[in-house]
Structures are given as C-alpha cells and as structure tokens.
C-alpha cells in the first residue's frame, strides 16, 4: 500500500488518476481502516486529504450557506454552536455515528463515500439539500448529494474524482430539520432504519418538506410522497398517518442480522412521524 499526503486537490486528483489497482481517499479513516484491518479492502494507493488547505474549516458564507471542509470531524461539527443552531438534524445525524472516539475522526464526506445505505449523516444531508463539490481531472463541479450513492459500497464518482467540499444551504426563516435512527442499543450500532426530515413553515402550515430514509433500500432514499403528505398540512394526525404510510410504502429493505423486512418497514413509518414532529417544532422555533 502506497501512502500519499498531497497538499492540494489537484495533486490528489493526479495521484488518484494515475494510480493502479484499488485507490482509497483517507479522511477520518473510520471505515477505510476497518476494511483494511478486516481484510475486506487493502488499497494499493491511499491518499490522505487532511493536509490540503481548507479541509478542516467550517465557514458560513455571506448568503448564509455553509461550506464544510472534507476533513471536518463530527466532533468539530457538534462543537460549532451556530451550525448546531441552524442545522441541528444534520449535526445530530453526524453525531450519532459511532463513539466519542469515532467522532474525533469521522467525516460527512467519508460517511457519504463509504456508500452504506445505513450511513446516519446521509439521510440528513439528503433532506437538507446538501450539495458537494466533486473535483476530478476535468475540474470541479457541484453535485446534489443524492446523486453520489450508487448502491451498497458504491458511489457515482469516477476514477480520479473526489469530493472536495460540502455545501449546506442557508437555513433561512421558518426552517427545521431532524434525523432519527433506530438501533437496538443506545449507542455504537449501525442504523436499522434512519429517517431525515427537513421542512419550512409559514405560521403553522408546512410549505416545504423533504423526507429521506436510510437502511431500507440499496441506497438512501428521498421519499417524495412522504414530503407531499406534509406540505400544506399543520402536521395533524391525518398528515402524520399519510407520512408514515408513504414512508413505509417507499421501503424496499432486506432481512439481515440487524432487522427484518417487516420490522424496517414498520419502524420507517414510526421514525418518520417522530422526526417530523421534532423538525416541525424546530421550524416553529
């Protein structure tokens, strides 16, 4: 395994573009090192992106949007008071991943690029409308985050491409987000089901909504019918029931060591309701 620690994205791209065999980018390493240790993936080329300028920064832009460096850790996000105040669902989703120790290393970008449908931060990013900068041999483009996952363990990034920044929209007024996951313990588990909700209200009425589900399909899902169930409502019982039904209907899970098809489908609806209530309360302030 060759280890590289470039100081610019262009260097990282050229190393990756020229590399033979398996290439992995190293941010927090909480997945890459586990796969290495477990003999699942031994990269031929490992490119540590933490020495690139700006990868550790959390910046709020003039328009209120946020730019997060790709090596920003979960702990750094949780310690950022303003980011927590504006995007509590996104920060909490990231914070749910692993232990305090893992939080000291894990990143949003790593969670996204690992390609797990059960990744906690990914449904929250889907719901929040996060976009990412993708840098490759042909330059940099901005891509909605829901276009990155391709299936379990797979992304749509091409050879030589990597994510170079994470962009979180401006929160604006009347907005609130939430993410909940189900795990059998209180900590340290992989989500059996995850659900992100991001919405906006005018008065008591929901005007915009986005609902996402994790661990119920080969990739994280954006559930349009679930969002439709919320928009125009005041989150009354009928809307919540419609939401739960839409969430359950969108599920296409498997039965595995963490949960059954029936369990995941049912709990997706339960979590959608609970997350929507939290997001709604946050939106109303």
């Amino acid at each position: 395994m060759q280890y590289h620690s470039p100081t610019s994205f262009s260097d990282a791209v050229s190393i990756a573009a020229e590399a033979q065999g398996t290439t992995r980018f190293l941010a927090g390493g909480t997945d890459v090192l586990v796969q290495l240790r477990s003999d699942l993936v031994e990269p031929d080329t490992l490119i540590d992106i933490k020495h690139i300028d700006g990868t550790h920064d959390i910046v709020q832009n003039a328009d209120g949007s946020w730019t997060l460096g790709v090596a920003v850790t979960g702990a750094e996000m949780s310690e950022h008071a303003e980011l927590c105040a504006q995007w509590p669902g996104l920060v909490e989703a990231m914070d749910l991943i692993g232990s305090t120790q893992v939080q000291g290393r894990a990143t949003l970008t790593g969670n996204l690029c690992n390609g797990s449908p059960a990744a906690d931060s990914v449904p929250a990013m889907f719901a929040a409308g996060v976009t990412v900068s993708v840098t490759g041999p042909d330059g940099t483009r901005q891509v909605p985050v829901d276009q990155i996952p391709a299936g379990p363990g797979k992304t749509n990034l091409a050879k030589g491409e990597l994510i170079s920044a994470v962009h979180v929209p401006a929160r604006g007024t009347g907005g609130g987000d939430a993410y909940l996951r189900f795990i059998p313990r209180t900590e340290m588990d992989i989500a059996v089901v995850g659900c992100g909700v991001n919405l906006r209200v005018e008065g008591d009425t929901i005007t915009e909504a986005c609902v996402s589900l994790g661990a119920v399909a080969p990739t994280v899902l954006l559930v349009e019918d679930a969002a439709k169930a919320l928009i125009g409502s005041t989150l009354d019982d009928a809307a919540l029931d419609k939401l739960a039904a839409a969430a359950a209907a969108a599920c296409n899970p498997i039965s595995d060591k963490r949960g059954t098809i029936e369990f995941r489908t049912h709990v997706a609806g339960v979590l959608a309701k609970r997350a929507a209530k939290i997001a709604y309360d946050r939106a109303k302030g």
Partner: protein, 159 residues
C-alpha cells in the same frame, strides 16, 4: 514494502519510528515503541480499549495510521500520571474497584480524563454516553460511572 519514517510527540517526548503504511498508531505504540498501555480489544474502533488523545482529541489508536501521527501530540495512559502522583481518576478507580480485569481501564481513563477536561461537571447520562465507546465486560459500568462522577466532584472542589 518500504517503510515510512515518522516523527511525533508521545506523552511530551519526541519519538520517531519507521512503520509500514498499513500499521496503525496502536500497532506502532505496542509493537514498535513497547508502549503496551493501550490495548487492542477489537482493532475496528468498537471497544475503545486503545483510546488515546491526538492533539487533545479522543480517538481510537486502531483507527489511525502510524503515518498520520507525524507532527502530532499523542497522549496515552502512560502519560496520565505525573512522576510524583497518580491522576485523581486513577486513584479513584483503584479506591472504587472501578476495574475488575483492568483491560478496558487504560482506554476508559484516557476517555474520562478527556471528558473532565472539556466538561468538569458532567451528568451521569453525559458520562455514560461519552464512555459508550469504551466497552467493559466485567463491571456493568456502575462503579466506573461513580468513580468518574465523584472524581469530577473532587476536582471541582479542589479547583
């Protein structure tokens, strides 16, 4: 496979070593530097027995490569006590029997010390969640949680 030369600081001392890029900080500490205080319970970040701090941040040393240690300040369980005396947490852990077999103890002490540096007055729930990544199979955590809470109280009183 060619080895990489790394210079870092461990418990205040400058240390350098050669390592294979696949070796973790835990491998380096234990097998190259003879510092066996950090333990390997799982090698995959699930048990916390290998906890150290890197630039003040709590991490699992099994989830960080040796080559990433360059230029960092690493603190291990061996660096908690001063030459003169034990850290209050160490003292309290002995007094409360907050260890049975003791294999998780180094990691728990590193993690608990890091918590108290950030939050001198944690609730029981905060202590439990902070330490959720440090598995203990012997104690049921009861005496560990009490030891951390009571050390925090002692340290607040002393300061």
């Amino acid at each position: 496979m060619s080895k990489v030369h790394v210079t870092t600081h461990i418990n205040g001392d400058e240390v350098d070593f050669l390592c294979d890029p696949r070796e973790t900080v835990l491998d380096v500490l234990r097998d190259r530097l003879g510092m066996t205080g950090a333990k390997e319970g799982c090698g995959t970040g699930d048990c916390g027995a290998c906890s150290v701090t890197v630039d003040g941040r709590l991490v699992c040393s099994c989830l960080m490569l040796g080559v990433e240690a360059a230029g960092k300040e690493i603190t291990t369980v061996e660096g908690i006590a001063t030459e003169a005396e034990l850290h209050p947490l160490q003292q309290k852990f002995i007094e409360y029997a907050a260890l049975q077999c003791g294999i998780c103890t180094p990691g728990i002490l590193v993690a608990a010390k890091n918590l108290l540096e950030r939050n001198p007055d944690p609730t029981e729930s905060e202590v439990r969640y902070w330490l959720a990544g440090n598995l203990c199979r012997c104690t049921g955590y009861d005496k560990i949680i009490r030891a951390v809470m009571d050390t925090a109280a002692d340290m607040r009183e002393a300061s």
